[in-house]
């Protein structure tokens, strides 16, 4: 475990032992946001606790706004961003949905806010445990969506997120998604970069699009049918450009800190794979292990981890899945009456190509239900079966007991 001196300066020769939440807090702290506005919600609470403690102790020079709701939290971040301030918030589940109106406002206003979301189930029934229904419900809100696998990536991406969001070609808010509890509350050794290095990597935010008494601007105005579409086209193009910018930021980060995370996707043993499981978030670690075991047994299995859901990494997905005979999408989400949001996006991407693997959607981990090694092995079994005969039901709820003679 690393040591922290009295003034909070960190010796980064050895890693600190911290949770995913604390890793996000550290990343946010090192990014030096001028304004933090947030409302605590399980399982995000520790992020806010750490940041507010550091502000109170004078270790972080930031204006911390204890707001009365998530709607206010994001509104306050927008106000700060409109003044050209770097701003950060964090939320989860019901809190994210309470922000829904402001999510679109922030992306349409091109405010480069960074938000951490602890992926958690949605009521009712009430449930505080992890799944991905919350962030996937707001996929179309104009935010860049990144899914994190481990605590080190959580810290590093909290820094990278500002560099992507604030890039002049992007100016789009970023949502960093961490699986509730599985990632937010798991402790891992995490290397904390030095503040001086982060300051060089991430200079302070500068924008001409801000409220300024010396150069007054008209912000957040109306656009009628004659002009509204052009603003949305512009927003869409900025989002698409974020792919390229994210890759540049990741590369620059790697050069300075020695850690890179890849682009929109991270393929694992996909090159010659017949069966590929596409997934996102912390469950990727489990799937990777199963792929290794299957490979040892002679099964050509692979995994495609999606890091970015918006912008959607279409080209990389097509490339990684071009040789697959069966593709499964494992996600902690379902759009009731259709399929999982990730499955729909992957399937529509493949539909515009000549690649025609069998497609299955595995809906698992809802409300925090464990996804076991056996579950993942069975998914690969089902993919193998789908190669030789028509798969039938494409959306499959994993690990649900159903009596046949009920």
């Amino acid at each position: 475990m690393g040591r922290m001196s009295a003034d909070g300066a960190v010796s980064h020769a050895r890693p600190l032992f911290m949770s995913g939440n604390e890793a996000v807090a550290w990343g946010a702290r090192l990014a030096r946001p001028q304004v933090i506005a947030a409302y605590p919600i399980t399982p995000q609470t520790v992020v806010i606790e750490r940041l507010s403690e550091w502000v109170a102790e004078g270790l972080l020079d930031s204006e911390f706004l204890h707001v009365e709701s998530e709607h206010s939290a994001l509104s306050a971040c927008m106000g700060a961003s409109a003044l050209g301030a770097r701003s950060f918030t964090a939320t989860s589940s019901q809190g994210l949905l309470y922000m829904a109106e402001c999510l679109h406002y922030a992306s349409g206003g091109r405010f480069p806010i960074v938000m951490m979301n602890a992926n958690r189930a949605l009521a009712l029934p009430w449930n505080i445990y992890g799944d991905q229904q919350d962030s996937l419900a707001v996929l179309s809100s104009g935010w860049i969506q990144i899914y994190i696998e481990d605590a080190q990536e959580a810290l590093d991406m909290s820094i990278q997120a500002f560099a992507i969001a604030e890039h002049a070609e992007v100016l789009t808010p970023v949502m960093l998604n961490l699986d509730g509890f599985v990632l937010t509350h798991t402790y891992e050794p995490v290397e904390v970069p030095g503040q001086e290095d982060v300051d060089v990597f991430l200079p302070s935010f500068r924008t001409p699009s801000k409220m300024d008494l010396e150069a007054p601007t008209n912000m957040g105005f109306t656009a009628g049918p004659a002009h509204y579409t052009e603003f949305k086209v512009q927003q869409h193009r900025a989002m698409l450009r974020a792919s390229q910018v994210a890759a540049q930021v990741d590369e620059a980060f790697g050069q300075r800190f020695g850690r890179c995370y890849g682009g929109g996707v991270v393929p694992y043993r996909c090159g010659d794979a017949d069966l590929v499981l596409v997934t996102l978030g912390s469950v990727a670690g489990l799937v990777r292990g199963v792929v290794d075991d299957l490979r040892a047994g002679g099964v050509a299995a692979g995994m495609l981890k999606l890091r970015f859901l918006r912008p959607f990494p279409e080209r990389e997905i097509v490339q990684a899945l071009s040789g697959a005979r069966a593709v499964g999408v494992l996600e902690k989400d379902v759009s009731f009456g259709n399929a999982g949001a990730v499955f729909s996006d992957v399937a529509s991407t493949l539909a515009s190509t000549t690649i025609r693997p069998a497609l299955l959607n595995f809906v698992a981990g809802l409300g925090g239900r464990d996804i076991s090694r056996d579950d993942v092995e069975r998914m690969f079994d089902e993919l193998r079966a789908a190669c030789v005969q028509a798969p039938g039901e494409r959306v499959r709820f994993v690990n649900v007991q159903e009596s046949r003679d009920g």
Binding site: L171, N218, M219, G220, F221, E230, F231, Q234
Partner: protein, 112 residues
């Protein structure tokens, strides 16, 4: 009193050339804004005492001081009728848009 400065928005050549934000130069409007008015206030200056109560009451700043006393900026007047209601001298009448103007206004006492 100065009227709002209107500078029409010229359509940029492509979506990329639109203001980012939406955030644009301040200090002017891009269009007039009174299209939903169904009635207009018509002033009979012969009755006007110059008290400026109408100017103070107008929620849109559309009543302006003039040499004659007051005038209405019909580009921004929404036709709410508050000025007519507030006028103690009954010098303001709300008149349907598109109808003939009042008797008094025909003699030119109404200022457009």
């Amino acid at each position: 009193m100065s009227k709002p400065f209107v500078r029409p928005f010229v359509r940029p050549p492509s979506p990329d050339a639109y203001p980012v934000g939406p955030c644009f130069t301040a200090g002017h409007l891009v269009e007039t804004n009174a299209a939903w008015r169904s009635e207009r206030p018509v002033f009979t200056l012969a009755r006007c005492t110059g008290c400026l109560r109408c100017m103070l009451a107008c929620p849109d700043g559309a009543v302006l001081r003039s040499k004659a006393a007051v005038e209405v900026d019909y580009d921004f007047c929404k036709g709410c009728g508050i000025c007519a209601r507030e006028c103690v001298a009954k010098a303001i009448q709300m008149t349907s848009e598109g109808s003939e103007e009042t008797e008094e206004s025909k003699d030119g006492s109404n200022v457009r």
